[in-house]
Each structure stands twice: as structure tokens, then as C-alpha cells.
Symmetry: C2
Subunit: 205 residues, 2 copies
């Protein structure tokens, strides 16, 4: 790319560090930014810089927050005896969007992955145990991904929580609502049969 | 997203202004940036800001350049009697990567599109006519996209160039090398038959 501009090339290099963005896409993004007003591009890059520099994490649940304690933990209408453990903030957003959950969260910031050198101490597990030790918590819902790493993490947390005599639950796995049986993977379909429940229960909701 | 951070939300909004990036992807990119070192994120946003603020355009061919005249226009080994007209800098990069072209370029910065209110005066057409008027140019290759807008622009430029008694050519359209006939679109296949040429010519290259 010596036939172009070192400044452009450098911007493309940086954009290509983003996950899922190859050099071709990065070039398209860079040329799009280049066509914009300079002020608009300043707004763009400052938004990213400020986010990284100023975003905080909730002292209680490790969710992303602009204040020391996040809006969910501060909400007196939420059930503080219920903690839903998730991998990252995207899971919080996904569950909040369902409007089905009124408890609190705990964001681990990852899952245990010996392959990547991530152990329990690299995650926000100590903060979770602290919350549980403080009392008032009755149930911990493990809502981690159904991967080897997610399962390992759930197994570890289940053992630690049980030490405190807590009810530990996991979210239900099964055929998605409106999903076709013949399009589900075998693992999910198998689990949905193992975890079947009385018909009356399923129609009541 | 009141359950999260205004700073994060703002960064996601900005990332979602990029072409082809929806809000879901923007959130993934923002969380990736959030996990990086602050210095690394500064490098990222500064690369974009500097590109927009400092990149120049070649005085001659309107290609992107860090200097007043770009490396291609400055290269004495290139054939200055040949100008290849392209839509944007990506086309220059694509053609340069073939290593098949040793002439100069002219970057229009778009194509004529009455629907979007883009006329010849909104493109770098005046600079092209200036170069042609200055003399020394023998052939102009129109390498614009085979869209309605590209064809309109080619038609317009052909008429203007012909006024100067120049040879105006267009790049060949046809089945791609190694491409299957049954997978080509009808327009391309039809054109490849209309534009057929003696067999000896095609094997010589």
C-alpha cells in the first residue's frame, strides 16, 4: 500500500484489530470516516476514548456503570435475595430486554478457561462470594453459556455456593419458543426431552 | 439501555454509524475496546482522528496522499500518457495489486447519480479535463462500475474526452478467469459472448 497514504494505512491497521473486521472491511470503514466532516470524526473517536477512560464498574455486581453503584443494584424495587450470574454485560442487556427478571445480577467478566489461562481468581468470583457472605441472598441463578468453559464455571460456582447453603439454579435449556424440532441440534433436543415437565405446568404460564 | 452506561451507549451509537455495523455488532466492538489497555484505545482513536485531519489528496490525480503529489504521479517510470479513471481509492489499490498497470490514475471520488443529486461538478471531473487539456495524454481508460451510475459517468466522460480527440477505452467485462459459465449472471455472460475475440489473441497473453 505504498501507493496510498501512511495515515490511511495506519487507521486501517487499527480498525482491523476489531473482532470480525478484516482488512477489506477496515478499508471500507476508513474511507467512510474520511468522507465525513472532521468534527463528526472527532465526535466518533472521542466517544470511544471517553468510554474507555471514564467507564466504571458497579462496586456491587461488576456491571458497567457511570456511578459507583449501578442503576439495577440501586433500584429498591428489585429482589435483592436473587442474584443472576452472567458472563458479561451483553447478557445483562439481553435478560433485561426480556422484562422477565426482577432480581439482581453478578457479572463475572468471563468464564473459567484453563486453555486461555483464566482461573476463578481472574474473574469477579471473590466479589460474588462476598455478596453471598454478607447474607440476604437466597438463590443464585447460573446463566452461563452451555460451553465447556461455561459448564466448568457453573460447576465451580455451584460447589462454592452450596457451601453457604444457597439454592443454586440454572436457566432452562430446550427448544426455543416457536422453534422447529427438526432444526434444533441433538444436544438441545435431547436435553429438552430429559428436562420435560407436566403439560399443565407449561400451559399455565 | 438505562441499565447500563451512558458512555458505553454513546460509543455504541457512534460505532453503529459505520457502514454495515448494526447495534449488536457495535456493542461487541465497544466491549472489545473496553477490555483493552487505555493506551491502546488512545492509539486506536488517534489513528482515526489523525487520518481525517491530516490526509491530503494528490493535486494531480485526487488519489489519497500524504504529500501534495502522490507517489504514483511522482514515479518517473510510469506511463504519463495513460490515465485510468476510477471511482475511489479502493479501485486504485485493487488495480495496483494486479501489477498489470503502469499508467497513471484519476480518482473521481464518486459517480454521477441524479437520484442522489451527484452531478459531474460534484466529482473531480474538472481536474481530469485540466490534465487532458495540458496535453501529453493519449488514452483514457474508464474503469468505473457496471452500474447505471457508472455507465452514465462513463458516457459523460467519453463525450468530454472525445472532444479532445483522445482514445477512450473501457476495461473488459466477461467471465472471470477460472469462473464457471453457469454461475455467471446473464448480463456478464451475454457481454462475454458479444465481446468475444479470436482464440489466438486470448492464448497469447
Amino acid at each position: 500500500m505504498s501507493h496510498s497514504s501512511a495515515l490511511l494505512e495506519h487507521a486501517v491497521d487499527q480498525l482491523a484489530t476489531l473482532p470480525g473486521i478484516g482488512r477489506r472491511t477496515a478499508m471500507r470503514l476508513a474511507l467512510d470516516l474520511l468522507r465525513r466532516e472532521p468534527l463528526e470524526v472527532n465526535r466518533f473517536s472521542e466517544a470511544i476514548q471517553r468510554m474507555r477512560a471514564e467507564v466504571r464498574y458497579c462496586d456491587t455486581c461488576c456491571n458497567i456503570s457511570d456511578e459507583p453503584v449501578c442503576a439495577i443494584c440501586r433500584d429498591p424495587n428489585r429482589n435483592a435475595s436473587l442474584i443472576c450470574v452472567v458472563e458479561d454485560i451483553r447478557d445483562v442487556i439481553a435478560i433485561e430486554n426480556t422484562r422477565h427478571y426482577k432480581g439482581l445480577y453478578h457479572v463475572l467478566g468471563g468464564v473459567i478457561s484453563p486453555m486461555d489461562g483464566v482461573g476463578p481468581d481472574d474473574l469477579n468470583t471473590a466479589a460474588l462470594l462476598e455478596r453471598v457472605n454478607a447474607g440476604g441472598v437466597e438463590e443464585v441463578i447460573l446463566a452461563l453459556g452451555a460451553t465447556l468453559e461455561g459448564d466448568t464455571t457453573s460447576f465451580y460456582l455451584d460447589r462454592r455456593m452450596k457451601e453457604h447453603g444457597l439454592l443454586v439454579t440454572t436457566i432452562a435449556r430446550g427448544i426455543s419458543v416457536g422453534g422447529d424440532l427438526d432444526q434444533a441440534d441433538e444436544l438441545t433436543l435431547g436435553r429438552s426431552i430429559t428436562d420435560r415437565k407436566p403439560y399443565e405446568q407449561s400451559v399455565k404460564r
